[in-house]
């Protein structure tokens, strides 16, 4: 099965504006799929619909073989959702938070050893030594990590992450991406919304959103390649400047000009951020 999540013509209004205005999307099993877009593009709304929190007003959606919204309760067993804010019970300990959420799954047919699973997940997010401390004593980074643990505790097939790295320091961000890549290796499909371009580079594929629509789906490498690279070749006798798009394909054609006595070669490529800004600020 190629498309694990399939969305066709999804629309959802908020008040008098369309938060989602005809979204089409296919996500494959086992990939890390990034949803990128400026604030208000509809990223969060899309993820909230896919993770059963909101009902779509029209369109066809199938997630892991379940149709939404009619089969949303069956889907809930297989998904994990990490909200933008940590959203934890501050007056409970880390292990009690996990135990509560795990209990909801266990009473719905999940089997196994609860205590074992809690230890395992606390180890995964490196909070094992704080298992009995109240969340109100945690730093914001630790809260984020526990919030991820709560979304993972029942070993979901699909993990939805709503801006997991906003307001997170670079070290924790690195740790988060290590966790996500480990999960991908175990076969989890990860859908992540972000407006940080450093996150985008880690994704297998990216969807770019603007005004309630997905207008481009591509790999970060391809997307980066589509930008314009400025090349400055300094020889003894002359300085030559080139501007090329699709660097990986176009640059080899210019290689023959590079023979001889080159003193300097400067290549400046557009960053993913430049390309993102250009794409999201252009015409619809």
């Amino acid at each position: 099965m190629s498309s694990f999540i399939e969305v066709k013509g999804l629309r959802k209004p908020f008040g008098h504006i369309w938060a989602l205005n005809g979204v089409n999307l296919e996500i494959r099993e086992g990939e890390i799929f990034g949803i990128l877009g400026p604030n208000g593009a509809g990223k969060t709304t899309l993820v909230r619909i896919l993770s059963t929190l909101l009902k779509p007003s029209s369109g066809e959606i199938s997630v892991a073989g379940f149709r939404l919204p009619s089969e949303d309760h069956k889907l809930k067993r297989f998904i994990g959702y990490m909200p933008q804010r940590p959203s934890l019970y501050e007056d409970l300990s880390a292990s009690k938070n996990l135990k509560f959420f795990l209990n909801l799954h266990f009473s719905d047919g999940l089997r196994g050893d609860i205590q074992n699973r809690i230890d395992q997940i606390l180890e995964f997010v490196e909070l094992k030594d704080r298992r009995d401390d109240l969340i109100s004593t945690f730093s914001s980074g630790m809260k984020q990590r526990l919030s991820l643990a709560c979304a993972l505790v029942h070993q979901p097939k699909i993990l939805f992450l709503d801006e997991p790295t906003s307001g997170v320091d670079p070290r924790l961000k690195r740790a988060f991406w290590d966790y996500f890549k480990k999960l991908k290796q175990e076969g989890t499909t990860i859908i992540i919304t972000t407006h940080q371009l450093t996150d985008a580079e880690h994704c297998d594929r990216l969807a770019l959103m603007k005004s309630g629509k997905v207008f481009l789906v591509d790999t970060p490498h391809h997307l980066k390649d589509s930008g314009i690279s400025k090349i400055r070749i300094t020889k003894k006798s002359e300085v030559k400047e080139l501007e090329i798009a699709n660097f990986s394909e176009e640059f080899p054609k210019h290689l023959k000009e590079l023979n001889g006595d080159i003193l300097r070669l400067d290549i400046t490529s557009e960053t993913l951020e430049d390309i993102f800004l250009k794409l999201t600020h252009g015409n619809d």
């Binding site: 059963t52 809930k76 804010r85 959203s87 501050e90 509560f100 009473s107």
Partner: protein, 251 residues
């Protein structure tokens, strides 16, 4: 389904156990209120407008139970919505009715615990009403349980309209003032104008006070308080069902 209701209730109890502020408040606040009630009535002359002191005291005890249960329920529900934990719960395999059932069970346990405390304390504080405990203790049980039940129903319904914890506090006068004036704490409901009398049937406290007085002063039995019990049960069910429709994930 029942297991999920149990787990949600259990989580409420875990939280209450760690909430030392709540525990201290539920010990000392009713204590303060009841002491004020005792000494404010001890110097008072009988008046032709109002009921006897002991009838008013009984009404004020019921008000304390009604109000403290409402406040606990409303604040916890609003807090969960504001902090996002309510929404988070909805991404787990749990239905609205199970969530509401879980809160009802958890709050009922805590509310009844608080109510028992208030009643026991009142027993030692007010000689005037001791008789109701000694002769009608078992009829006091259903009245207390149903009063707590309807208070939770009202807190579930009203908290749906509150956007924040501060906003929930603004609803307090809306709950307390009609209860003070219409439920017959200070003067009989029959003295109110007919349309206000109808309004008093929407307040659970009216039924609780009517039935408690029935026991204390008319020496009533289970059949005399039956209509009031049914009234509270219906009101509690209606508010809970309405609350399940207005229950929202986010503020």
């Amino acid at each position: 389904m029942l297991r999920k209701i149990y787990y949600i209730a259990l989580r409420n109890l875990w939280q209450a156990r760690k909430d030392y502020g709540l525990i201290l408040e539920s010990i000392f606040f009713p204590l303060g209120t009841l002491v004020i009630v005792k000494y404010s009535f001890s110097q008072m002359e009988e008046s032709s407008y109002t009921l006897e002191a002991r009838e008013m005291i009984l009404g004020l005890i019921a008000l304390q139970i009604y109000f403290q249960t409402y406040l606990m329920g409303a604040l916890v529900l609003v807090r969960e919505r504001v902090r996002g934990t309510m929404e988070r719960m909805f991404t787990y395999p749990v239905r609205k009715v199970e969530i509401l059932g879980g809160y009802l069970l958890g709050f009922s346990f805590l509310g009844i615990l608080q109510a028992i405390y208030v009643l026991v304390f009142s027993y030692f504080l007010f000689n005037e009403i001791k008789v109701i405990f000694t002769s009608h203790l078992w009829l006091l049980v259903p009245i207390t349980i149903l009063l707590v039940f309807t208070s939770i129903g009202i807190s579930a319904l009203i908290s749906s309209f509150a956007k924040s914890e501060a906003h929930a506090l603004q609803f307090i006068p809306l709950v307390v003032i009609p209860a003070l004036l219409l439920s017959g704490i200070f003067y009989p409901v029959e003295l109110l104008s007919p349309w206000l009398q109808k309004g008093s049937y929407l307040i659970p406290l009216t039924y609780a006070i009517t039935s408690m007085r029935e026991l204390l002063f008319e020496n009533g039995d289970f059949y005399d308080i039956m209509p009031s019990l049914v009234g509270m049960a219906i009101l509690g069910t209606i508010t809970l069902v309405a609350g399940s429709f207005t229950l929202r994930k986010t503020s």
